[in-house]
Amino acid sequence: MTRTIRTASLSIALTGALLLTACGGGGFTEDTGSSAPASASGPVELKMLIASSGDAETNAVKAAADAWAKKSGNTVTVTVASDMNQQLAQGFASGSPADVFYMDAGRFADYAKNGSLFAYADQLKDNSDFYESLRQTFTYEGKQYCAPKDFSTLALQINTDAWAKAGLTDSDIPKTWDDLASVAKKLTTDKQAGLGLGLGIDRVGAFVVQNGGWWLNDDATKATAATPQVEEALKYVQDNVKAGSFKFANQLDSGWGGEAFGTQKAAMTIEGNWIKGAVKNDYPALKYTTVELPEGPKGKGTLQFTQCWGISSDSKAQAQAVDLVTSLTSVEQQMAFADAFGVMPSRQSAADQYKAKFPEDAPFIAGGDYGHGPVNAPGMEQVVADLNSKLEGFAAANLPTVLESFDTNAGSVLGK
């Protein structure tokens, strides 16, 4: 018996000793982003972490970073993340994250709240040139933290062959909800749904914006999902799903709206700029056109998806990082990125250049004026995921119950 006690206490002592070696290290003070950036002297080496959509994007970013590096005499190492959330989290936990990184709008608030981000937006010369809604997306507690690097919006894609076969013409392009419903009904056949939608609030949210509603109130202190505006918008979609003219991707055996559209299981879809590259690569024979989303009862509305250039508060060379971001968000550089991998510049002054160069993308860039960014309050990721999961069986969903449970769940998160 005593031998067991001795062995047990010895092992506990050993473990405790091992633990103590892992403890220690200076505490981190809560840094809400001092306005004076850390500036390292001499040539610095900046680390950049990006989540790339493919070789085109990786090469474009590396070229831009190298150009700045040569001009300024520093070096930039660009790393492409295979799992952005995980690698970013690992960087912050270890205390030495990348200096500059892609910051997705949906995750932005959590990182702003725990002090990981350096708020440099007030140091940019022409910060007001960025679209107002994009700047709003990256604002937490009244302070804008970072500069949006580009954005995409949702628009309506129409399969021109199916359109002509249903006897529709240019004058039939839907301008209101009723137009959209009747056009989708005309396009619906046995083998093809009129409108194919991707799952989740990142698509049906466009209808909510068109009806003047949103999931949260303006300063993200209260959830407003269980309101008539939101419910009416979702009911409009649900009625059409029950009638069979709108169908979701999981009803069409597709992963997303673009796949349903490309495989011709749907004659129309609502997707963003990324659909251009996807159709070109995977469905090159498809003939389609893009138009702006129809207006809802309260006017035009669409969803914006954007990322910003995040600079970490732990970075030792924040001044140089801000300089790098300034060069990456110049009009010329943003147009170069648009050329390379099809995103839209986040500067309003670049809009005309973009429209002149890519006239077929005019419906997308028009969304910069009336689009709404994603839900960006801290801690809301789990609540939104639950809402999306409850909306997967959209036709049978009990909308008032689902929206109320969203409000309840969000309420317990938004107060903190």
């Binding site: 959330n85 801690g379 990721e381």
Partner: protein, 381 residues
Amino acid sequence: MSTADQAVAPGTSPVPRRRTGGKGAGQRQSVAGWLFVTPVLLVLGLFLVIPIFMALWVSFTNWTGRGSPFSSGVGLVGTDNYTALLTQEGLSRQDFMISLRNTFYYVIGVVPLQTMLAISLAVIVNQKFLKGRSFFRTSFYFPSVVSSVAISLVFLYLFTGTGAVNQFLGLFGIDGPTWFSDPRGLLHMIGGGLGLWSTQSPPGFLVDTQVMNLSLWEWLSGPSVAMSAIMLQVVWTTAGTFMLMFIAALQDLPSEVEEAAMVDGANAWQRFRNVTVPHLRPTILLVITLGVIGTWQVFDQMYVMTQGGPGKTTLTPAYLSYTAAFNQAQWGQGAAMAFLLFILIFVLTSFQRFVLRDKDVAKQKKAERAQRRATKKGATA
């Protein structure tokens, strides 16, 4: 042994010198032993034991993911993370209970299936007159060797709405479901088919009674169609490993025992039930224990194939712990979930060991312990 150079005077004992030599060799052996074991101890300690204790610490804090969890800014919140998962009415508890329900049906489906499949394959492959035994052994074991991510991707394509599986079912006129988009529970569908209830309007008392954030109707859903596809894949993949363990145990069964049973007039099934299976009992215990541990910890398939969907029906505690920590920045809760899962597995395997113990050996041990206690009491009295 240095007995040769001992000038032993009559009457003196040569033992001391021999004992010194023996003690030196023993000491050298123990030093050598520790020397060989130290690298593994270091690696295990640094990469397994310490992170586990660090995670235990994180589960009692409100660490936000920035900087070291041992820094001075991190606050201790005691059991808040655990109560959020077990007793507080909220989204975290709902998600955790959903993951427990999903994995419970997964375990109940996979462990018996893979054990029975492994035993059957082992008995078949072990037959002496089977031609090409090593070919069959290799091909049955092959899925266990291939990366689980690669197999998951292949099965993802096999089970699409127009994939190979549905085309095969179409040959029999069965319209297969879109497997990985189908959240309907098997028990719900079977009950609906048998006429016990209607899946469109389930019985009121099942829907209204809420136990731990989920209604009874949701608890009784069974594995979803998507989960069933994953279960089929996992059974196919892991049966091979356990088949090997059974083959090894079967080699130990002397053929004379089988022949004696045949002489006594037992047919193949009776021989299997009364001779083979009792002999395999320790291996069955091992396989079921490993199966239970492995299935409760399932993560790879969910991460690659379904990400917890459709409708959260393939959410498991391990995957939920990962998403809570990395995607939802709830590090304390993610760590707490991992430890709740550990406790659950520990309790289950202890219970299973108790149920499947060898009762004769247990009785004998109990008698020995009682005897030892009696002699000790008699000695001290």
